[in-house]
Amino acid sequence: MTMFSVRNLSLRFGGVQAIADLSFEVAQGEVFAIIGPNGAGKTSVLNVITRVFDPSAGSVHFEGRDITQLARHRVVNAGIARTFQNIELFEGGTVLENLLLGRHRFGHGNFFAQWLWTPGVRAAEAASQAAVEQVIELLDLAPHRKSPVAGLPYGVRKVVELARALAARPRLLLLDEPSSGLNPEETRDLAFWIDDIQNDLGVTVIMVEHDMSLVSEAADRVLCMNLGQRLALGTPAEVQSNPAVIAAYLGA
């Protein structure tokens, strides 16, 4: 069952064609990986989905709805959360505060209620904390709960970002190079977590990734892009053995 689809998407910056007539579909509950050489337009796809860029042509559909023209801050309300290639955490806060920001889309009382810190606001805040605790539990972040994120090791920061996206309770999660900068051990943890996210939380995942071992382990299907175009699409094994893909990577 198709949950998410990109149809004939193009993105042009001046003379550079970042994405060229790209189409793909992602089924409910799938882990879908996008791979490709540097500059293939992978991150641009995520940026178009989350409305950082306006596409030059084409459309993006999610759960039967056209989200191509959605306001940038409403994407998460549609049910799509993301992480970033270069960690974008709220450096001034603790892990807990970062995760609570992930809950922003759930109401915490109107402006005046917040101003007066009414019982309703207090209850909403407590509920959000409870929800955040579940994510902390899932991703083993308990030891860092009250640590300022600025001082955490790189690997943990990466996990905090993932946790923050999960705190927003998305139905579709976009991961931009989740394993970059992680050591093999952390990458293996990540593979298990992606598995948990898929099976226990029922969240569909689209990830841009370089690490082929993670892709083969976690992904159900793989899209290989080159120069903004679709090169191959299929199971990890199929894509890896595709001659065009090998050529693109080896530059033949």
Binding site: R51, H73, E88, L101, W115, A126, G151, R164, A168
Partner: protein
């Protein structure tokens, strides 16, 4: 050494979790309430001035400390609040109505200034606000019909429901009361969704958008709140000085405000108070030490500017987290004694994030 051992979410929410903290604030409250009866007239007036500056500093802190928007021209909002309030009092409006209306007026101007602020950021915003402050001073100086121009404008006494509060002690309590209200309101706002969103906008706009924070909306909201609170400070300042002139709201005041939030510690309301108290007391302190200085130095105008500049330089260089940062370090030192390490608050090496405009 103390660990936070929360047994309910309510524990984590509490402002003052421990008896010691509650006791300390109770003592502070008692001292502030008793002060006008124990101190001389001059010092009661000075403390009232400090309270007003605290409100002004809190106003700027919301904008600069929480959303990271630089304003080098907040004197303009104080000026607008002061003149609007004085003008309405002059037209016969009661104090209790004029104050909120002056706040509303400055908040509206804040909205107008904040709207373009969505388009410009960083240095550009600093320059826009700077120009706005100079322009405001200029307009006030030249719009004789309403503001009295450079001749100035007198301010009617604050009369609340028939009680004249212009006396030294009543006005002291009025300012203390309003400061408490503003502070509590902002504390609540900053610990709930709005404050979190402000910090999110400050630290990473890209992530903020991704989490459903309407970045432009919150930026403007911060401007509106900040301007409104600053307007209140201005209105109270009008009563404190009793006679308004455009020079009183020049760039020096804007710098004082920036100094307050910067050396107080950005991103903390407590820092805004610390900074306002320190910077607000500085002129008094300087006038105290002047007699001890050699004649050539003390009689010269400019000592104040020199000291202000020097303090700013020293804080930027040696304690960028401000007084509040120092306070937290001290507290941690005692709470974790003897485990405190000198590099506990040292930030991990981060790569320079260039903010340059390409």
């Amino acid at each position: 050494m103390r660990f936070d051992y929360d047994t309910s979410y309510r524990d984590g929410q509490a402002l003052l979790r421990y008896g010691s903290g509650r006791a300390a604030y109770a003592v502070l409250a008692l001292l502030l309430l008793a002060a006008p009866w124990a101190l001389g007239k001059y010092y009661v007036g000075e403390m009232t001035y400090l309270f007003i500056m605290c409100i002004g500093s809190l106003g700027l802190m919301v904008l600069k400390g929480y959303t990271g928007q630089v304003s080098l021209g907040h004197s303009a909002f104080l000026a607008l609040g002061a003149y609007a309030h004085a003008w309405m009092l002059g037209k016969g409006l009661p104090f209790a109505l004029s104050i909120p209306m002056a706040m509303g007026f400055t908040a509206l101007i804040g909205l107008v200034i904040g709207l373009p602020a969505i388009r410009v950021s960083g240095l550009y915003l600093a320059m826009v606000t700077l120009a706005f402050a100079i322009l405001t001073e200029h307009v006030i100086g030249h719009w004789d019909a309403v503001t009295g121009g450079f001749n100035g404008m007198s301010v009617a006494n604050p009369v609340v429901f028939g009680f004249d509060l212009s006396g030294l002690r009543p006005f002291y309590y009025l300012c203390l009361g309003l400061l408490t209200l503003v502070l509590l309101g902002l504390v609540n706002l900053m610990r709930s969704q709005t404050g979190r969103a402000f910090r999110g906008v400050r630290d990473s706009e890209a992530a903020a958008y991704g989490l459903g924070i309407w970045v432009s909306g919150y930026k403007v909201l911060a401007f509106v709140i900040s301007a409104g609170v600053s307007g209140l400070a201005g209105a109270l300042l009008a009563h404190h000085v009793r006679f308004l002139t455009p020079e009183g709201f020049g760039l020096f005041l804007a710098l004082e405000l920036v100094l307050m939030v910067t050396i107080g510690g950005l991103g903390s309301l407590r820092g805004a108070i610390f900074g306002a108290v320190l910077i607000g007391m500085l002129p008094v302190f300087i006038s105290r030490i002047k007699p001890m200085l050699p004649e050539q130095v003390s009689k010269q105008f400019g000592l104040e500017i020199f000291v202000f500049g020097l303090i700013l330089v020293l804080f930027v260089l040696f304690e960028p987290k401000g007084i509040n940062g120092r306070w937290i370090k001290l507290k941690t030192f005692f709470q974790t004694f003897p485990l405190y390490r000198k590099d506990l608050f040292k930030r991990g090496k981060t790569y320079m994030k260039s903010e340059r405009y390409k």
